[in-house]
Symmetry: C2
Subunit: 219 residues, 2 copies
């Protein structure tokens, strides 16, 4: 059973979030989102299978045509001297290439995109995400946790591998920054930089983090 | 040097075709098409590379989410008890899933499709393809070749591996059939059937060939 501290931190997180009136306050709603995400992953897997199937067909055609054009371009007149070759060239250009083009233009993502559309209305929005980030920072203050401990998921009484990436830390920093909360902004940009320097991969660049960090420091 | 018979058969093919006024009568035009085809294959290879790159990114995300949702769905409340997990779920649904959807909706085929559009105006059309098929049949009559020899590319004086597939033979048959030339139609449907029974792979089904063949036989 989870211990008391865990429950306290959880309740604190959700309560401090609720005070700002965000939508995703009930554990039930959050649990629904977890199941939605699972469904989206399955739908994505189906899309991947369809795309791989399509790509295999295109690659098969490309290999066949690679071999063919190597022969035909090495001696075009010799190639065309055979009437069967001339007929087959006609057929390829009139029928088969346009068929291949239709295949290439297909995007077998309909199922996945439809699934996204159905669920998107229940997704948290930017305000919810900002609310959750701010709730994390309030929790950080309450337990006087440094950003590194937080980023590594080391919360009192919670045993889990929940970690924040470089990009997560940078987004935490930006949330504080946009709220003119430069104290937390500096903490999180520094943590982001530390993890990036530690060799973690990230979408955000070092220059961008430094840019935000230097501005925050001088406020 | 190609021998006289080869030249004669080639000239016969192109002349008998010319008499029907088709466009692709000069060896120069046909040679241009060969080089166009080579260019299209290169363009297709670029599309394949881009599609593989996109698919790798989508698969990478799917693998990451597979692992994540296995943990989150096995104990949703335990998962959400960690505030960092709750924040990251918000972020994924508000930011990352929509980004993935945009990636999925991309079809990196623009270059290939543009290349097809540029060249399509010079492609042979259905009439050209039919003209080439009929020219082959006239050649067949002149040299009194059976369809099998023809299909295997065995033309007098021509040494090449130009072969007709089951589908090619079926299309030859259909050209004759549509022209009410049931004599050649039967020959080519039979050849198509023979190659299919021999184990060759084909798009056309046995039932479809038999359907056309039986109708042609009773004319």
């Amino acid at each position: 059973m989870r211990n008391l501290l865990s429950i306290v931190s959880w309740v604190w997180f959700y309560c401090s979030w609720t005070t700002h009136g965000e939508v995703f306050t009930s554990i039930g709603q959050m649990t629904d989102l977890i199941h939605t995400e699972k469904e989206l992953v399955q739908s994505l897997r189906e899309y991947i299978r369809a795309e791989e199937y399509k790509l295999a067909a295109v690659k098969n055609w490309a290999s066949k045509l690679d071999a063919l054009t190597q022969v035909s371009t090495s001696d075009p007149e010799g190639y065309l001297a055979h009437p069967v070759n001339a007929y087959k060239l006609m057929k390829r250009l009139n029928t088969e290439w346009p068929e291949l083009e239709s295949l290439v233009l297909q995007n077998p993502s309909d199922g996945f995109v439809a699934n996204m559309s159905v669920h998107r209305q229940y997704f948290p929005d930017a305000e919810d995400q900002t609310g959750a980030a701010k709730a994390l920072m309030r929790l950080q203050d309450t337990y006087q946790l440094d950003s590194e401990a937080f980023s590594k998921g080391k919360l009192p009484g919670v045993h889990s591998n929940a970690e924040l990436t470089v990009d997560d830390c940078f987004d935490m920093g930006k949330t504080a920054y946009n709220d003119a909360d430069y104290y937390h902004a500096v903490l999180w940009f520094q943590q982001s930089l530390k993890q990036l320097d530690g060799g973690e991969e990230a979408v955000v660049s070092k220059a961008e983090i430094l840019d935000y960090l230097s501005y925050s420091v001088y406020q």
